[in-house]
């Protein structure tokens, strides 16, 4: 009874268990007849299981074949073995345990078994396997591999796809972390190791890139991203990471970066300023040159509003309104191209080209390019200016040329301009151009110009510039420019002014040379005319004397006179020829001297005596006084020439008044003075009287070649002496010759 109660208690407890878990317990005798069944399955409820008592196991499984698993395991249990196996019944899977049933003596009297329905658990396992397969498939398709690093055991395991990506051998499985890292690119191993260790110490998502050389030698780039698994206490236990091949993306990115860099380099290396805008006026791109040209602060450009920039830049232009109108018009006609020129207040000039940006046939914006053509424009204007100046200067009228150029310089080179020319060693202002008010403000010539230097200088707040006019290394004048208040002269202006000055100088030199040549020709013609006339006097006398004698037209006394005339005219002509020859020798530097001991007193007496008749005829009385030793080392005939020419002049211009000649000695010098009381010399002629062909009187009144005093001066200076003249009109003239007594002749 007690045992029944206990049995009933156990059964009740098992029933409760099997309500929770599908399963059955049973017992058999040695014939495998079920002696006890309790429990339930999907197909057998509790009552049905109780009804199984009495039936045999082969009966229950429907097979008498001893190799049927259930039967075989029961039989094996009867033989003493503990059996544990899975068994499928009615599409359910059971985990079955069968053991021998022993009596108190230990004899096997039957079997006991227990079966638990584990169908659900197995299905979960299958699902897990399937999802793992699907994950592998997904990884393969996405080319994403994965690996795990078990920190405690230092074991790395990886997915099939990772194996494929990394090119590991089939069947090759994980190893230590170091072994895994050794498969990476040597240059990246340390970095990946660091990333993994960092992650293991500071759990959280991480990522890094590394390169990999595949077995066939190809280098790939891989991206790793991962996270760290921790245990319940927060200690990291596993690093889990996925990795994928980003070589293609990397190559694409590099190509993109390369083309962007190429575009940027192209933009930045062009000499033009480039601005790209979209249809709404937003700035899409620009280059540094654009900012520089337009003096746009980078912050303004960064804000990216074209309209904001337009306001900034238009203020720099000469005509902001026209500029803004032009831009507006181009924005309203997006497909138009345009080329125009912009003039800046500071003198710069830009060429602006604008063309639409077309994408798939539609204008999406506009590209503006700006080119600084200031220098080109300057050169063009400069060339035009110089060409105009050259045209104005192509005249022999210096004043007209200079005036024209001065006018041309205003306002191109300044608001006023003055030209000075050197006259008698001092600058004289001959032309001022500019507004009447400004003209008066051109300052006096800057002294630098007189020493041949160009300078930029300031007077008050205004910039000034002066450049000398140079002719064959001599300063002949200067040109001064005054800039308007808004302008500062630069070296560019100075260069242009120098170029202009060279042209002006050349023109003036040309005109002066022409004038000199013209004057020289005139002097030559006059000289020839006078020479011809001078010859006709003696020739007339000779003619008449000779013909008178030949034709017997003269009485004996007159015949003697005719012979005297012939002799005098012969001498006159000889002297005439000598003068001409001397002039030629002086011109070619071939006037020769034969120095010997000569006494000036003797020379004076000889010459005066030779001219006695001539003097008497003129009515002039000639007196000679001498004092001291008058001997010196001179050329006798040249000294005679000096005295002769001075005496002849005194007789010629002496108006019959007394003529005084004196010679005195002092300190190695002798001084010869020839004085007359005749017509004298006008003061403006005193300087020129020793120049060839010069005469102080009208050639209609007094003949002569105008060579006498020139020859005298040349001889005196060649002998180391000096000659001067003191004279006033109508008060006669005194010529003083100072000669050293000995000197080596130059």
């Amino acid at each position: 009874m007690h045992s029944d109660q206990a049995e009933q208690g156990t059964s009740a407890y098992l029933r409760l268990v099997f309500k929770q878990v599908p399963g059955v317990v049973w017992a058999t005798d040695r014939e495998l007849r079920l002696t006890y069944v309790l429990g339930r399955t999907q197909t057998i409820d509790e009552e049905a299981s109780a009804e199984l008592v009495g039936r045999t196991v082969p009966d229950f499984v429907g097979s008498r074949d001893p190799s049927e698993p259930a039967v075989a395991h029961h039989l094996a249990a009867l033989a003493g073995g503990r059996q544990s196996f899975d068994y499928v019944l009615h599409d359910h899977i059971f985990a079955v345990l069968i053991e021998p049933l022993r009596d108190e003596a230990g004899e096997i009297v039957g079997t006991v078994g227990a079966a638990l329905d584990v169908t659900d658990r197995l299905q979960s396992r299958e699902q897990l396997a399937r999802s793992e397969a699907r994950l592998a498939e997904a990884q393969r398709m996405a080319r994403i591999g994965s690996f795990e690093w078990d920190i405690a055991t230092d074991t790395v395991t990886w997915s099939d796809e990772l194996r494929r990506i990394y090119g590991f051998a089939n069947g090759e499985s994980g190893g230590t972390l170091d072994a895994f890292l050794r498969k990476l690119h040597p240059g990246d191993r340390a970095r990946v190791r660091l990333a993994l260790f960092d992650a293991s110490r500071h759990p959280g998502p991480f990522g890094c890139e590394h390169r990999l050389v595949r077995p066939e030698g190809e280098t790939r780039v891989l991206q790793i991203t991962g996270d760290v698994a921790v245990d319940k206490t927060g200690v990291p236990v596993r690093v889990v990471a996925s990795c994928w091949d980003i070589t293609a993306q990397r190559q694409t990115t590099e190509r993109l970066e390369q083309s962007l860099s190429l575009l940027r380099a192209t933009l930045d290396s062009t000499a033009d300023g480039i601005l790209v805008v979209d249809r709404d006026g937003r700035v899409a791109a620009y280059n540094q040159r654009f900012l520089t040209l337009w003096r746009v602060p980078p912050t303004l450009a960064e804000r990216g509003q074209d309209r904001e920039m337009l306001t900034h830049v238009s203020d720099q232009l000469e005509d902001p309104r026209a500029f803004l109108d032009g831009v507006r018009e181009l924005y309203t006609t997006p497909e138009r191209e345009a080329l125009d020129v912009l003039h800046f207040r500071d003198g710069r000039t830009f060429e602006r080209f604008s063309m639409p940006r077309i994408v798939e046939g539609e204008p999406v914006g506009r590209v503006w390019s700006f080119r600084d053509v200031t220098r080109r424009e300057q050169l063009l204007r400069r060339t035009t200016f110089l060409a105009d100046a050259a045209r104005l200067l192509s005249t022999l009228d210096v004043n007209k040329a200079v005036s024209g150029v001065a006018e041309l310089c205003v306002p191109y080179l300044g608001e006023s301009c003055a030209i000075d020319l050197i006259h008698d060693g001092a600058p004289r202002r001959i032309m001022v151009a500019g507004d009447p008010g400004e003209k008066a403000r051109v300052p006096e010539l800057h002294p630098a110009a007189l020493s041949g230097h160009s300078v930029i200088y300031s007077v008050g707040t205004k910039s000034h510039m002066v450049v000398p006019l140079m002719c064959r290394n001599a300063v002949i004048g200067a040109i001064t420019f005054v800039a308007p208040r808004t302008r500062q002269y630069t070296n560019v202006d100075l260069e242009l002014s120098d170029a202009l000055a060279r042209r002006i100088s050349l023109s003036i030199d040309n005109a002066r040379l022409y004038q000199a040549a013209h004057d020289a020709l005139k002097v030559r013609d006059e000289f020839l005319s006078i020479a011809a006339h001078e010859l006709r006097g003696p020739l007339t006398s000779l003619h008449l004397a000779v013909q008178g004698l030949l034709h017997g037209a003269l009485p004996p006394a007159a015949a003697r006179t005719a012979l005297d005339v012939i002799q005098r005219e012969d001498r006159r002509l000889a002297r005439f020829v000598d003068d001409l020859l001397d002039l030629g020798r002086i011109r070619t530097g071939q006037l020769h001297f034969h120095l010997e001991e000569v006494d000036l007193g003797t020379v004076l007496r000889d010459v005066v005596s030779r001219h006695a008749a001539e003097a008497a005829q003129s009515g002039s009385k000639v007196t000679v006084t001498s004092e001291g030793d008058l001997a010196g080392q001179w050329d006798r005939s040249r000294l005679e020439q000096v005295v002769t020419n001075l005496l002849s002049n005194a007789i010629k211009y002496g108006e019959g008044q007394p003529i005084e000649i004196s010679a005195t000695e002092s300190a190695g010098h002798v001084t010869l003075k020839v004085s007359d009381r005749g017509i004298g010399i006008p003061s403006d002629m005193l300087d020129r009287i020793f120049d060839p062909y010069q005469r102080a009187v009208d050639v209609r009144h007094y003949g002569g070649l105008g060579l006498g005093l020139h020859i005298v001066k040349v001889i005196v200076e060649a002998l180391g002496g000096r000659i001067r003249v003191d004279s006033r009109p109508a008060e006669g003239a005194t010529f003083s010759v100072d000669l050293p007594k000995s000197r080596s002749v130059v």
Partner: protein
């Protein structure tokens, strides 16, 4: 007017000398003056000459001025004048007033022809 008086005005003493010698030999009375001033002075103190030879280029008063002065003087205006000059074109203003022109240097024949024609 005194017949056969001839005045020679030339600053070249040799020209004066030779003309004096040659015309004296022809039987004329000959006076010389070295410029226009001297010539006028001379004609003021002697009787008006039958003929005056005038060189154009002279000091003080040249030939042109002398001729003009003579033409303005009632006593001298009718005296025939022979201009002597080296310049064929010179004395342009004086030339119409001259009765004859001798271009220096001239021949003895030309001189005598002119003298005989104008002074008889």
């Amino acid at each position: 007017m005194t017949d056969h008086l001839i005045l020679i005005v030339d600053d070249d003493i040799d020209v004066r000398t030779m003309l004096c010698a040659l015309l004296s030999a022809e039987g004329y009375n000959v006076l010389g003056a070295s410029d226009g001033v001297e010539a006028l002075d001379c004609m003021r103190v002697v009787d008006p000459p039958a003929l005056v030879f005038v060189d154009l280029m002279m000091p003080r008063m040249d030939g042109e001025h002398l001729i003009r002065a003579m033409k303005q003087s009632p006593e001298l205006a009718r005296i025939p004048i022979v201009v002597m000059s080296g310049h064929t074109v010179a004395g342009g203003a004086a030339r119409p007033a001259a009765s004859a022109f001798l271009k220096k240097p001239f021949e003895l024949d030309s001189l005598l022809t002119v003298v005989h024609e104008l002074a008889g």
